[in-house]
Symmetry: C2
Subunit: 487 residues, 2 copies
Amino acid sequence: MPDPSPKKPVKIAPPTGTRDFYPREMLVRRYITDAWRRTALRHGFDEIDGPTFESAELYKVKSGEGILNEMFGVFSGKGLAEPQAPAPGTFDPRNPPFGLRPEFTPTLARMYAARAKQLPQPTKWFCVSNFFRAERPQRGRLREFWQWNCDVIGGEDLITADAEVVSCVVDLMGAVGLTSENARAYFSDRVILDAYLLDVIGIRTDQLESARDILDRGTKMTPDEVRAYAISRGFDSDRADYFSFQRPPSNKSGGASESEIQTVLKLGDQRLVRLNNAFAAFDLGDWKQLNLSIVRGLAYYTGTVFEVIAEGERAVAGGGRYDNLIELFGGPPTPACGFGMGDAVLGNLLEDRKLIPEGRDMLEALARPMPYRPDVFVIASPNPGCEELIVPTVARLRRGEESEKYKQGEAKPWSAERYSVPPLHARRSYKATKNVGKLLADAGACHARFAAIIESPEKCTLKHMDTGEQTPDVLLDQLAQRVSRGA
Amino acid sequence: MPDPSPKKPVKIAPPTGTRDFYPREMLVRRYITDAWRRTALRHGFDEIDGPTFESAELYKVKSGEGILNEMFGVFSGKGLAEPQAPAPGTFDPRNPPFGLRPEFTPTLARMYAARAKQLPQPTKWFCVSNFFRAERPQRGRLREFWQWNCDVIGGEDLITADAEVVSCVVDLMGAVGLTSENARAYFSDRVILDAYLLDVIGIRTDQLESARDILDRGTKMTPDEVRAYAISRGFDSDRADYFSFQRPPSNKSGGASESEIQTVLKLGDQRLVRLNNAFAAFDLGDWKQLNLSIVRGLAYYTGTVFEVIAEGERAVAGGGRYDNLIELFGGPPTPACGFGMGDAVLGNLLEDRKLIPEGRDMLEALARPMPYRPDVFVIASPNPGCEELIVPTVARLRRGEESEKYKQGEAKPWSAERYSVPPLHARRSYKATKNVGKLLADAGACHARFAAIIESPEKCTLKHMDTGEQTPDVLLDQLAQRVSRGA
């Protein structure tokens, strides 16, 4: 590489796959990252971040070969936990001391593990940061990109946590003006998938990763290609037929017995009914769709997995449950569920559909206040039928109410006229306690403006937390409006 | 480096000199970076950003040895303008293909040069991003830190641009609750300094960089140490005496003649009077202070240089004029002036003085709207005495008016009660035209809410740009209040 004389003008391009954000591009980036932050805050997530580069070791714990191969190595040779400047000829570039973060989960797991004992159950964290992969750049895939991560770590009611995480990503899609006609959250379940692979197709446990990989890549192949690929990954001819759906697994060909198949179907049915009920509480409507070919490339998922996909595009977001990971990073055994969404695919979707505001509209959209302070903390009284209203109430408050004008296509998604009641920052308790006094104390501790105590399936008491003033008999149907107007 | 088995728990620390931002630390980072963005927007800067890593070549153009030695190298071996994965033994770690950005100016210069012809004169850009230096971490110095950069590139009235840049950094200090008792903007002028070194002390042109380095480091040394250091840098005994102020340069000892000294003093006087007049227009009061020992380490400054320093701390910000740099990066000859401010020293200052809000105060401070849309665009009518009121009017609007309550110490700097009139986003034209119609069109093009046309030294006409409604005879003293109340 020539070392240009310091007095000679040089023209140097930005590295391939990275971007220069001139003012217009920067406003678009802010529009997307602000939408992420607004949605995460409204859903009660707290923002965190870690270093841009981490010990390369951190990414060897679980990230898998795919990610390690695409990691940018970082070094300075200036000491402090990296090798001293090695002489040329002694430095192994395939073993750098640090890596530019290719994903957030290892940092999240490390940070959670370091403070697990002091952190609330569950801990809800989000992060909006840049990540790096040395892939060949193409549409929707860059070497430096921005990514939004939301994770629910710990806690008790895991199926509700799964659904809450999906509701967060779905609310983001809605907030930027996309609909379930543009994109869907396709979900599956690793437990069902693994039971199918092991007990119906009849693979060995040590073949699980290869088998998931075949299903994952198989969605982009012809049946014959899938069959050839399965054989190249070491499966026998029968298994290769099953993967490529050229022959259903049957007892006669060494596959599962009828009763084994029935057991798996029953397990699948139970788990999916529970998950669908949780989705229903968050009112995910048409946004969610079962798709058992959703595998997610990463080895660490243990339960629900999902991808948000718009036709003709790469996945705009993906995530799932990973219950073993915190422990791998030295923390206590802790269940967790989360997702990541990149800016490149989402940006393409919005640009193509003209969902990026311009000029004055953009400046006004970016100027809106950020929902840092919770608008309302929802509590159930011990009266019958109240407890199960918490989730639907919170979900509704977070989503806002769209105006007729917007529904008739006469207001832009970023305009103030979109909502008759704007989306609110709504929280609830995740504790088992039903003591209203203690729950009100929690509302105070997170600085919520209001607490809403659901007294019956129709009504709540609204308490203004700064003044202590209480308004009884507020209809749940009018709660959002009352809170957004300051009671 | 051991490759841990993927099933064994590991505890891995973040790299030395980097930070984990848990929710509280993240709120503080947002508080600081939001304050930067608010101030830059109010001063009419547009946000940009570049890649986190750049071709290492870019930093060889001008950054100088100090920065290059502290640069983190980046590589993946995956092609696209970097070497293919080299075998161990053939890779030179001291010559990486990419570097983690140690500073923003090379990216800024590259981006400006690439689009110089299409960009406005002047172009006002800011950036809030993370930067990296492989220094030994200590108080106020980290290996990854956040930095705010503001630059005015091109344009005609350079002395006013210098003062506007200083007013921006000073307004930030005020906005976060610091006063000129806590910190000052110390300024100097490379032209005066160089004339003094060449014509009074009598050094050679090729000794300028060494001489500046001696003055820069000399502020932290005893006179005897300065003398010894000057001799170690190759200066003779007389010059060493002058640097250490142990003997004034005089004709007899081979120094300058009385008339040479007078010429330099006159030059200095002229330049400083002009700069002080420009500072006065922005009403910088006690914030600015001349200090000829301010040199700034970097070789590329060509005029005004400044550092914001609080007692007992490293510089919290620094910058100056660099008129040759855009050309070095392949652009047309373009004057420029800017500064950088890091989060580490500023964070320490604010924490020590209890100027970081907590709890509800923090959430409310972060929730405030961002001043993306200009509140007011200030124009002068052709009447006498109006033109020179533009800068003072704009400066006053951007700073807001503090309430009696705050002045008496009864309101916190982040509280809504701090201001009787909040700081506004105020812009003006930098064009030579005095055609009010054209200037109103500029106000419209940047989506300003109001245009204020100064009609006399006391009064202006206020035009609501959305409705076209005009209010004549608004007192300049009440302009800020009228604009902030929506007229």
